[in-house]
Symmetry: C2
């Protein structure tokens, strides 16, 4: 068994269901908060559980540099290391390396790059990206791709797409040979869950104080490797990339190479045309998107999974999303505003604190500002997705499809 | 009714009981975490409640500069502003102004000083310090004193002590005339508590969404103004300061002017000799102390209340207190240490995370490091005080004394 999507309702192109992973079920469509270094900045894991987070995204590139893959692997994998027994997805490191610009050099074999921390030299290849992601042990791992720059001419986009396709094949080959090497895949315990919330299908994380239960062999759960569709802003190349990635064969497909500077309308066109060429019974993941409007809209086009640093990063800069629009909490107009940040919000921040207090915390550089702002923005995103799922399920029911 | 101590058990000089305040009862001896700007850095109020915090200390000087006293007053006082319905103590600002060194000038009338933030000119007098603290509305407020520098000759210490005594009289006079002006003291509502935990005697805080209940007049609860004993490192002057402060008459007494650079053994001698001259049936507050050892030791000499920035400040620098001694979590030796920070600790951090993860968070400058480290250190201090109280209560029971 690997990762699969269980579709339970549909409405037009939209669908709602469950993503079944080795670490529990994830209600879809889902927004995945970003925990770059194995932590959603400022928010403890029990609060993430309370918020209803069922899957987190972590960044391979960052974890590779700190604390290093061998450390995470020796500590039992990322779930156990960060004491999180729900699902995790890791990216391949490709996008981060892509964003290093002058510090990278791409070849057929892979990408040579220098660390943004200390300038040290490193090399990522499809095989290395697989080895690392298997060592981290996320439930869903991503093929190593080249994120094509924007703008780029058609020849460049095609060459880049072809490279990504060759790398996708190499990723799959390596993964097929090593898929049982995830830290939790061989001698996993039936472990005590760390926190509240649903019982995971397989708990790979535990607190540092194990109850010493005997190891128990479990069902043959393995990680799921997703392929990534590239092809720049060219509908024809996107279609070709989708078809040839599907030919290689993955349990899920991502749309990559977007939000790289192109107009938002173009993003939307490319997403919609690409979705038409992806299997309807498998998870579809739109990478790095988006704004509150986008995470509400793309599921209607058939997207199942999204992630973005926006809610967490904006929170740390005092930009808050509410049912009444954006609030820049640093503004002096909120200095004596006794009302809740979002009167329609039932998060623990809006239930307890006033705009005046949040403004004071932010203006005074208090740590708690970043903590509370992040909790609210995450709740806003997760709540938006709950509304989207309810909207889909309120539509025409569909015969459950099993991949 | 104002603040009073209800002694319920004694063992030698030590006593255990309850501090009765307008915002609930506080088990004593108590350690008060410091929330300088109306926030314990990085820790949300619900977590403080879960930790069992029953009283917080906030700093008048800092709140005076940001967000400003008028703002807090207009927002209903500090309890309501920070959504904290348990007890609060504010210092007078004297100690902070004292520490400004070159930025201050002391006269009979008060202290002229410049803000450490922007250099703007300000003036604090006994009357002004009272006006500010009444505006903030803490349950316990402190007389405006001069913290005598160390070392100082006897003439200087006596002159400083005499000034503090004159200021104490002015504080009391102003307070007696204005004690009913606390933001919650006149038209207080019987308000919905914000969080879990014990029902407060008077809830002065509420979430931004009031349930619109009708105002209800309550018992005549007012703030309690504590006097401060000075007298440098001179036993005779300490005795005189204590006796003359008691002559002025306060519901509680603090020992100030310590931890200003003197040897720790001298601190201890002065504390113990000063305690002998304080009323046995009223709260005794040792200001700005101390280390984990000190907060366990001073209650044995008869101290009821203590505060210190050490647990929270050290936490933010990666210095953690455990049953096995101090742990500097930044050290590489913890990079792959899968054990709990403190195997004997039942806090939410030690129950869930490993030293390896905490070390990773700290080494990577993750916000969560400061959050989790602070939660653990506070739990360590509060747990130490619980043990102290249990130790006292296990001793000879005493006839309850009521002030």
């Amino acid at each position: 068994m690997t990762v699969r999507l269980q579709i339970e309702a549909a409405r037009g192109s939209a669908r709602a269901g469950k993503l079944i992973t080795p670490h529990g079920e994830v209600e879809t469509p889902v927004f995945m908060p970003v925990g770059t270094l194995g932590s959603v900045k400022g928010v403890s894991q029990d609060v993430l559980e309370d918020l209803g987070v069922e899957i987190l995204l972590s960044n391979t590139y960052h974890l590779y540099l700190r604390p290093g893959i061998e450390t995470v692997r020796r500590m039992g994998g990322l779930h156990r290391f960060m004491a999180w027994d729900r699902a995790i997805l890791t990216d391949s490191g490709g996008f981060q390396v892509f964003s290093l610009n002058d510090l990278r050099k791409v070849s057929e074999e892979g990408v040579a790059f220098r660390s943004h921390l200390d300038g040290s030299a490193h090399f990522l290849s499809p095989e290395k990206a697989m080895e690392i992601q298997i060592g981290l042990g996320a439930d869903i791992i991503m093929a190593f791709d080249e994120c094509t720059e924007y703008p780029a001419d058609r020849e460049r986009v095609r060459a880049s797409m072809e490279l990504t396709l060759r790398w996708a094949g190499r990723c799959k080959n390596y993964f097929e040979e090593h898929r049982h090497e995830a830290p939790w895949a061989r001698s996993a315990h039936l472990r005590r869950p760390c926190g509240s919330g649903a019982e995971p299908a397989l708990s790979g994380a535990e607190g540092p104080r194990s109850d010493g239960a005997e190891p128990r062999h479990h069902t043959e759960a393995t990680q799921g490797l997703f392929g990534i569709v590239q092809g720049g802003m060219d509908h024809q190349l996107r279609r070709e990339s989708a078809e040839r990635t599907i030919d290689i064969g993955f349990p899920g497909y991502a749309i990559g190479g977007l939000s790289v500077g192109e107009p938002r309308e173009l993003t939307r066109e490319i997403v919609e045309s690409t979705l038409e060429h992806l299997p309807s019974n498998q998870p579809r993941y739109l990478m790095g998107v988006g704004t509150p409007e986008e995470i509400a809209q793309y599921p209607q086009a058939g997207v199942d999974m999204m992630d973005c640093v926006l809610p967490t990063r904006a929170a740390r800069h005092g930009l808050l999303f509410t049912s009444e629009g954006k609030v820049s909490i640093k503004q002096v107009r909120y200095a004596e505003d006794d009302s809740a940040l979002d009167p329609a919000c039932d998060c623990r921040v809006c239930q307890r604190y006033s705009r005046a207090y949040l403004r004071h915390l932010y203006a005074s550089n208090e740590l708690l500002a970043q903590v509370l702002n992040t909790v609210h923005n995450l709740h806003y995103y997760l709540s938006t997705m709950r509304t989207v799922r309810t909207w889909i399920r309120a539509g025409r029911a569909t015969t459950p499809q099993v991949s």
